[in-house]
Homo-oligomer: 141 residues x 2
């Protein structure tokens, strides 16, 4: 087993989001709250990893929330000042020590290195760092 001791904790983008959402302020809090469909443009180097992705697949995208504030440990949930400050590990705040977004989406189209997905709340230019199949039944949120 290769352990990659040279790069154990460096995340490499495998794709980038192309979306009409340009600013965090425009983005819904979750993908099922009116997020638009978006395209993912994958890096040629990972093409073999996409070989079995099909329209209709339900997948989990992990994104790198590149505009996040990584120093934040407590937030008002949903940025609502009426809600008391809450530890970030009990929230889905994008501002957290490792700003990794978790998104369940349905694949609409696969065209080579370009994949169209439904209902993605990530903004244009967000790096995607992993794609995983949804296992089992029921909602993955």
């Amino acid at each position: 087993m290769q352990t990659n001791a040279d790069t154990p904790f460096t995340v490499v983008p495998i794709a980038y989001v192309e979306s009409r959402l340009r600013e965090r302020s425009e983005a819904p809090r979750q993908g099922d709250e009116g997020a638009p469909d978006a395209w993912l443009s994958f890096e040629p180097a990972v093409a073999a990893g996409l070989a079995d992705l099909r329209a209709g697949d339900e997948v989990i995208l992990l994104s790198w929330l590149h505009q996040a504030d990584r120093t934040v440990l407590s937030v008002h949930p949903r940025s609502d000042p009426e809600r008391r400050l809450t530890g970030v590990f009990s929230t889905r705040s994008p501002d957290r020590p490792n700003p990794i977004g978790l998104h369940r989406v349905r694949v609409l189209v696969v065209e080579g290195l370009r994949v169209h997905v439904a209902g993605l709340e990530a903004i244009d230019g967000t790096p995607i760092i992993d794609v995983k199949p949804v296992l089992g039944r029921g909602a993955m949120r």
Copy 2:
């Protein structure tokens, strides 16, 4: 919004797994396939982020699968040579470009910086990089 241009793609461990699982070969494929309970030992620097974690919470752990081979793009699912080679983004293989594990677990005990969780398939010493609440109902796999 701070963009942290100095460290945009570097993952920082927030905790480490303490488990009786010592080798990948011992670990079940998924947490609901006989994985043992495990302790998570968090870094003091992120204590404030844990403030609202409670016994009984269902959470998603993101781990850094530190023994993964990041060069792998196709695998035989579940390491079964009878299964045809499949693109890693259609599998849960730990070997993938960004070896991030996704684990849904129930919190059993919170003791300061130590958190006991049920059914975690990650091996002893695995870094944890994020904790998120499960949203909505149903299984998160």
